[in-house]
């Protein structure tokens, strides 16, 4: 395990300690599970099995239960995402304005499938639900940035823009 990852695991542990759950009952501890998973994903970027085990131990929940929760919710990911995750909105408003084609175009241009990451680790493609910017449909979020009113023609340009940004 890399040193960097290990220090991140430490941060997660420290965060759980800061919640002062020591000595609280099982039910209360359990109710913090999703909250802690959010925090851990924020710190590490994804939720590897190792961190799930740490959380399980700290919150007095079985590791398989933690895994069950992680895999149930779409927001949690067990795989690292690209540096610039490309989230194509497939909510209804975006879909009727052609976001499905935009998703296909991204896949074609980058040569990867949904939930895969490019070899250089720069991009990963994900389909998401309405991101609440329907007025700009079709919408693609790259990292935290929202790009709206796109057509398939914008796809190449966007990829290029982010490639350049990284240089």
């Amino acid at each position: 395990m890399s040193v960097e990852l290990e220090s991140k695991f430490k941060q997660v542990e420290e965060y759980i300690d800061s919640l002062n759950l020591e000595g609280k009952d099982k039910v209360t501890k359990r109710s913090y599970l999703i909250h802690v998973l959010h925090k851990a994903q924020e710190i590490i970027g994804y939720l590897p099995i190792e961190v799930q085990k740490i959380i399980a131990k700290k919150l007095d929940v079985h590791a398989s239960d933690v895994y069950g929760v992680v895999t149930f919710y779409n927001f949690f990911s067990m795989k690292p995402k690209g540096k610039y995750p490309i989230n194509v909105c497939l909510g209804t408003a975006c879909y009727v304005r052609g976001s499905g084609e935009i998703l296909e175009e991204f896949k074609k241009q980058l040569g990867i499938k949904e939930n895969e990451t490019t070899g250089d680790g720069l991009f990963s493609i994900h389909a998401v639900r309405c991101v609440g910017a329907c007025g700009l449909a079709p919408v693609v979020m790259i990292g935290d940035e929202v790009h709206g009113r796109l057509t398939t023609k914008d796809v190449k340009r966007l990829i290029k823009e982010y490639r350049e940004k990284d240089k």
């Binding site: 039910v27 913090y32 909250h35 927001f75 949690f76 209804t92 408003a93 009727v96 639900r129």
Partner: protein
């Protein structure tokens, strides 16, 4: 829509919740928000802190012996957590799977204690009603559905966004007056209301006044207040498939009708949109859809067949065209369309031949081109490129 209330006026929700808590004698409240709405979370947190500072939340509010505190709980991208018992499970830290009712949450809710659950919009309505009285509220809207409703208008209309109208406003007023009509002067085809499991309502019913009952009677629902407008270029079986894919993905998998039934429906729709279905498939789909509606455990499963059943009812011809004639009247379903070059319009500019990814187009410069149907993958690149309108989609 709830997102904008939480972002724009979080105090209205806090106040509504505090009043509701006072009414039922609760001391602890939770707000469950999608993690995808970080700004709403931030603003609500701020607002809760402010309310605590002013003594509007916390111990002995206004010096009375009533105490009430609020906590935020984040969702994690599971649509089914909109179902109340699933939401409770999620707050408790479990997979968001619904359970059978009764017992209803009002009897046995969060951690087995009596709990009431309401939507953001409902709570935001409480303070104005208390201030101005029920009579005022009842003066808006219709007899059975008083007040106003916020719709998220989207799709092929000119003005998209949130619209608040009194209940009883007609669909036409919302779509054509407020929404400014259909984009690019296309023809209106249908409006889908109520989120992913609402139904599609055709043009004949545009003058229906909207309230909870009328929408249900039309095979749709009020649901989340989503309103998606579709124009003549929308293929109804394809739309139904889109919605069903959503339900299949979001089904929690706890009960069989929803987990397996919806997958079967989706397979049938796939057969339809790719031209492999028979009339028996249509009949079977209808029966299965009704069965799922009757037997699924929670609201998600009970409403998931709505888009199919309503489009099959209102747009029967379109389904039959896919099944009997193997055509897609709206020109959407790839397997059922053909691109052809109109010899009289083609000037032989070669633009189409150059964009075709599979080199299906042949012809020499300044002479009409031709598409080899065997090779064509129906990507539509030539159609989008031709500046002379010489490529037809049939």
């Amino acid at each position: 829509m709830d997102r904008s209330v939480l972002e724009g006026d979080p105090h209205s929700v806090i106040e509504g919740m505090a009043i509701a808590a006072y009414a039922i004698g609760a001391n602890q409240g939770y707000v469950y928000i999608r993690a995808e709405y970080p700004l709403a979370v931030k603003r609500l947190k701020n607002a809760i802190n402010q309310a605590k500072e002013y003594g509007l939340l916390g111990e002995n509010i206004f010096g009375t012996n009533f105490s009430f505190d609020l906590e935020i709980r984040l969702g994690a991208g599971a649509f089914v957590c909109g179902e109340e018992t699933a939401l409770l499970a999620s707050i408790e830290g479990y997979r968001g799977e619904p359970r059978t009712k009764p017992p209803f949450p009002a009897n046995k809710g969060l951690w087995g204690k009596p709990t009431i659950i309401n939507n953001v919009e409902t709570f935001a309505n409480i303070a104005p009603i208390m201030l101005r009285g029920a009579k005022w509220f009842r003066s808006l809207g219709t007899e059975k559905s008083p007040g106003t409703k916020v719709f998220a208008l989207a799709g092929k209309v000119n003005n998209v966004g949130l619209v608040e109208v009194p209940m009883g406003t007609t669909l036409r007023e919302v779509i054509f007056d407020i929404g400014g009509g259909i984009r690019d002067n296309k023809k209106f085809k249908a409006v889908q209301t109520g989120g992913p499991s609402g139904g599609c309502i055709p043009a004949e019913y545009l003058d229906t006044p909207i309230d909870f009952d009328t929408l249900t009677a039309l095979g749709s629902m009020m649901g989340s207040g989503g309103m998606i407008v579709m124009d003549e270029n929308t293929c109804m079986p394809d739309v139904a498939k889109f919605y069903l894919e959503f339900s299949v993905e979001e089904s929690c998998g706890k009960c069989t009708p929803c987990r397996i039934g919806n997958v079967r429906l989706l397979e049938t729709l796939d057969k339809i949109t790719s031209g492999r279905a028979t009339m028996e498939d249509l009949e079977r789909m209808k029966i299965l859809g009704k069965t799922i509606k009757d037997s699924a455990l929670c609201g998600l499963g009970q409403t998931s067949p709505n888009p199919i059943l309503s489009t099959m009812y209102y747009f029967k011809d379109e389904y039959e065209a896919h099944v009997l004639d193997k055509t897609c009247p709206a020109g959407v379903c790839k397997n059922l369309i053909t691109y052809k070059i109109d010899k009289d319009k083609c000037v032989g500019c070669t633009a189409c031949a150059r964009v075709c990814p599979v080199e299906a187009i042949s012809g020499s410069i300044k002479n009409p081109h031709e598409i080899d149907q065997e090779v064509c993958i129906k990507c539509g690149a030539c159609y989008a490129t031709c500046r002379f309108g010489a490529i037809e989609k049939i």
